[in-house]
Amino acid sequence: MPLPEASFHILMALSDEDRHGYAVIQEVAARTNGELKLGAGTLYRSIQRMLEEGWIKEVNERPAPDLDDERRRYYRITPQGRAVARAEAKRLTNLVKLARESGFAPGRA
């Protein structure tokens, strides 16, 4: 079962530190050189599902440094979330390997 692209990006954005929603959007944009700009709805819909699946969890609210003094919810990746991301990365690697063998992608098979 392929992971929805947005979820994969969110997991990657949370891989090194806890972030609040807007920070996730910025991190994803930065990692993709501004190519992927997650919408707020898409973000929170994905977050809701990932929370239900137990891939991420909410950590205590604290003030967001870049958002004045408003208290924001922070999200943290769980071990299960890391496992899912790793499995997805493996799936994608295998896929690219197959694509190389077919001559669809650059690099050696």
């Binding site: 609040h20 929603g21 807007y22 959007i25 919408g39 707020a40 709805g41 898409t42 973000l43 929170y44 819909r45 977050i47 809701q48 599902r49 958002l67 408003e70 924001r72 919810r73």
Partner: protein
């Protein structure tokens, strides 16, 4: 910002509560960053983001609820099955009824611009006859004189013999004037309709075939055009075939002949046999058309005071030309179906409510775990909608299967096909009531369960009396509805019985009947006709088992008309008010075949020839009208264009039908015929046998075939069948309404049972305490039964009032049975009481067997 907050309402409220603030915060930050041209782009992006994701969140929740529904329903298949069946019965009944009503009343007639098509009749107010056929001369003057009509055509219909295409057979034909097809605005499937060239006297006679006849007799042969067919000894050229949907003037019509009115047809202004159809000019109102024709009719009445005194014209929209009885029956059908739907919905609500009560614990737990009230209501709605949709699908199938049964309720005289089709609108209607059912009756229990107290004491199993109130009201409504249906059905059954008990005046058992339409002009002269009758009757009487055989113009109830004015010396009457009697020619022995008792005098005999004095046998009511208390034998009167002398008196029969008022009857000798049109030539054969009359059929067919090989035998059936046909549509009405009443009755019974069973199981502890405190088991039984009886009693009380109202609405269908018929009400009330008893007995017995120790320990 306000707009964005408002926009967030498209998300489910659970999602909005959880993430609304976060979404707004992100939105605020991003908006600050946007500038210049980026602002509109940002707004569009934000709106799309909300709409797309809201849809997906809703979809996620729906799928989740749907899976949950399948799981929970899978765990209680009994509940799911019952709910689906209940919904299917209600939706099916309503859909079927709506399809019929739509077919007959709502859907436009299958002609272009049907709103401009009108039916035309003569109105003979003085005779109390309103929709009277039109005399050709009058029709011609209406057509020429009026300015309101784009076109006007006329027709009459009757059977015709089709010879030379396999077995000779009788088909339903109509003769149309050349203007009729253009007036209707219809096009043929093959070939053409009649043209003015066909209308010339020198042109060959032409005929147009129906799709059905073309398929069966002519094997859908496209080469049929130009072929000659023989109808009643005349040769006709087939010029066209009509499409399948064309049914005119009735759905039984099989072919259409061109009617060429010759000059002599216009001689008699009282020779009424045409029906008129007109197409109003665009923009001409019905009122104007009525005034227009009324003025012409008024002028004609002045010009021909003897024939047309007080004769007017009736103009009626073709679509509205449905008899009051048929209209009422359709309304009754729809009303009964809605009643069933209501009861089904009530039952469904009760089922869901009981289920919700049982699941309070589970719901309380889910609420405690953070599921919002909106989420839980939504989940329950998904479940009820799912059940309703399954029920709806099954209901449409039920309706589809039930439709052929209902078609008998559609009037035959409308130009529409027999079996209604279920089109998109009908399915939409079904979908609408399905969703209505699902939502309304899903929301009630869902909201009810979240009324504060229900949730708070969610973990306790006791259910107080107060909370039962809604469910009790629902059950009372069910009892009320089912009583109304029971009474309505009962009244119709009583009416049916009453009509079936009417003495027709003849004995219908052991009589075989058939029709030999003698083709003209082959049998125009008396001699060949008499020879045919003589041969057929003589040979038939020789068959073993035959006790008598006779010919008549028309058997009773087969044709109600054939009514002629009577003139009696010494009884001068205003021409317009001249009274009438039915005219039939008979062969000797007709009365004994039909078992119509001869009161005095004699039967007609073979010696009553054309040269002898013209004789008549009259019925008792005829004597009572003209010679009360006197000896009628030897009296003279003018009838059927000749003087007749009374030689015999017989009992009256129901000529027109069991439910109709009947004119006095006059029977004339078949040999004294020529003063009356050939239409009255004897054609119906009645044969009395000592055994099964149908066993005679092959032998009689053979006799007729030997007498004239080209003579078709039509309508072979017993006299009993003819009498039964009188009540056939009533039988269908009773069956349909009976089925509805039965469904309602069973639903109400399950409703009562369900409520009491639930009450008993939730009061187990209380009952246990009562028993422990010394209550006798009879007392417990009485307590539960009393609860049931109170519900039923209230429902019955309300139902009696409503049923009386329904009975009054039905009055014109009741054939004299009073709407307050005591026996019907007594039977319905008794049935309802029995139903309550049966429904309460099981729960009551279970209550009696409650073990106090276990019951109290349960808490």
């Amino acid at each position: 910002m306000t707009f964005y907050r408002w926009l967030l309402h498209v998300y489910p409220s659970s999602f909005r509560t959880e993430y609304g603030e976060e979404l707004c915060a992100v939105f605020a930050t991003e908006r600050r960053e946007a500038s210049g041209l980026g602002i509109p782009v940002f707004w569009i992006g934000a709106i799309l983001d909300v709409l797309i994701n809201a849809f997906r969140v809703h979809l996620d929740i729906f799928l989740q609820d749907f899976r949950y529904t399948l799981r929970t329903l899978g765990r209680s298949p009994g509940f799911a099955f019952t709910a689906v069946i209940v919904a299917a019965l209600g939706i099916g009944a309503t859909t079927a009824a709506f399809t019929m009503v739509d077919h007959v009343l709502i859907r436009p007639l299958p002609f272009p611009d049907p709103d401009r098509l009108v039916n035309l009749y003569e109105d003979k107010a003085a005779l109390g006859q309103h929709d009277w056929d039109i005399a050709p001369a009058n029709f011609r003057d209406w057509k020429q004189g009026s300015s309101s009509f784009e076109n006007m055509g006329a027709y009459f219909h009757g059977p015709a013999n089709l010879v030379g295409e396999g077995e000779p057979q009788t088909v339903q034909a109509a003769e149309l004037t050349v203007d009729l097809f253009p007036t209707l605005g219809v096009q043929p499937l093959l070939g053409r309709v009649f043209s003015s060239d066909d209308n010339r006297d020198s042109a060959p006679a032409t005929v147009v075939l129906s799709y059905g006849l073309w398929q069966t007799v002519f094997a859908s042969d496209a080469g049929v055009l130009g072929r000659k067919v023989i109808l009643d000894d005349g040769s006709y050229t087939v010029v066209g075939v009509m499409p399948k949907t064309f049914a005119f003037p009735t759905r039984e019509a099989q072919l259409w002949k061109l009617m060429r009115l010759r000059p002599d047809a216009y001689a008699d202004r009282n020779d009424n046999y045409l029906y008129g159809v007109g197409r109003l000019k665009r923009g001409v109102s019905m009122e104007k058309a009525r005034a227009d024709l009324g003025a012409i009719a008024g002028r004609l009445a002045q010009a021909y005071p003897k024939e047309l005194a007080q004769t007017g014209a009736t103009v009626r929209l073709m679509h509205d030309d449905v008899s009051g009885q048929a209209l009422l029956m359709l309304k009754v059908l729809l009303g009964a179906a809605l009643c069933v739907l209501l009861i089904a919905c009530t039952n469904l609500a009760n089922l869901l409510l009981a289920r919700a009560m049982v699941r309070r614990k589970e719901l309380a737990i889910r609420a405690a775990m953070g599921a919002g009230r909106e989420r839980l209501v939504r989940q329950m709605l998904t479940e009820s909608l799912f059940l309703a949709l399954m029920g709806g699908a099954l209901g449409v199938i039920i309706a589809k299967l039930a439709l052929p049964l209902l078609t008998r309720l559609a009037p035959v005289y409308l130009p529409i096909v027999a079996t209604p089709s279920m089109d998109l609108r009908v399915l939409l209607f079904a979908a609408l009531i399905t969703c209505g059912t699902g939502i309304v009756f899903g929301v009630i229990p869902a909201l009810r369960i979240f009324r504060s107290d229900a949730m708070r004491e969610g973990s306790r199993s006791g259910v107080g009396g107060r909370k039962e109130r809604i469910r009790s009201i629902l059950v009372i409504a069910e009892v009320t509805g089912s009583l109304v249906l029971l009474v309505s059905c009962g009244l119709l059954i009583r009416a049916l019985w009453r009509i079936q008990a009417v003495d027709p005046g003849f004995r219908s058992k052991h009589v075989l009947t058939l029709r030999t339409m003698l083709p003209m002009p082959k049998y125009e002269k008396r001699a060949p006709r008499e020879a045919f009758y003589r041969r057929v009757l003589t040979e038939t009487r020789q068959l073993p088992g035959v006790t008598g055989a006779a010919y008549t113009s028309f058997l009773p109830m087969v044709m109600g008309g054939g009514i002629w004015p009577v003139e009696v010396q010494g009884h001068p009457e205003d021409i317009a008010k001249r009274r009438t009697a039915s005219l039939r020619f008979i062969t000797p022995g007709y009365f004994s075949v039909m078992s119509i008792p001869l009161v005095s005098g004699r039967d007609v005999s073979d010696s009553d020839t054309f040269e002898a004095p013209f004789v008549a046998v009259v019925s008792e009511s005829f004597v009572k009208r003209y010679w009360p208390g006197e000896n009628p034998l030897g009296r003279h009167f003018d009838f059927g264009n000749h003087d007749r002398v009374v030689v015999g008196v017989v009992r009256d029969i129901k000529v027109r039908g069991l439910e109709r008022t009947n004119e006095p009857q006059v029977y004339l000798s078949y040999k004294q015929h020529d003063q009356v049109g050939l239409f009255y030539a004897p054609k119906d054969l009645a044969v009395r046998s000592s055994g099964d009359p149908l066993a005679l059929a092959p032998a009689i067919r053979r006799i007729i075939h030997q007498a004239d090989a080209s003579q078709p035998v039509a309508n072979m059936r017993t006299l009993g069948d003819i009498v039964e046909l009188q009540t056939a549509s009533r039988v269908v009405q009773v069956r349909v309404l009976g089925a509805f009443a039965l469904i309602a009755f069973l639903l109400a019974a399950t409703g009562i049972h369900g409520l009491l069973a639930f009450a008993v199981s939730s009061r187990t502890q209380e009952i246990g305490v009562r028993i422990a405190l010394g209550a006798r088991s009879q007392g417990i039984l009485a307590m539960i039964l009393r609860d049931g009886m109170v519900l039923a009693g209230t429902g019955i009380l309300l139902g009696v009032g409503l049923a009386y109202g329904a009975g009054r609405l039905l009055q014109s269908l009741l054939a004299g049975v009073t709407p307050g018929d005591l026996e019907t009400f007594a039977a319905a009330i008794l049935l309802s009481a029995l139903m309550t008893l049966a429904g309460s007995l099981l729960p009551a017995l279970r209550a009696m067997r409650v073990d106090p120790v276990t019951a109290i320990r349960m808490e």
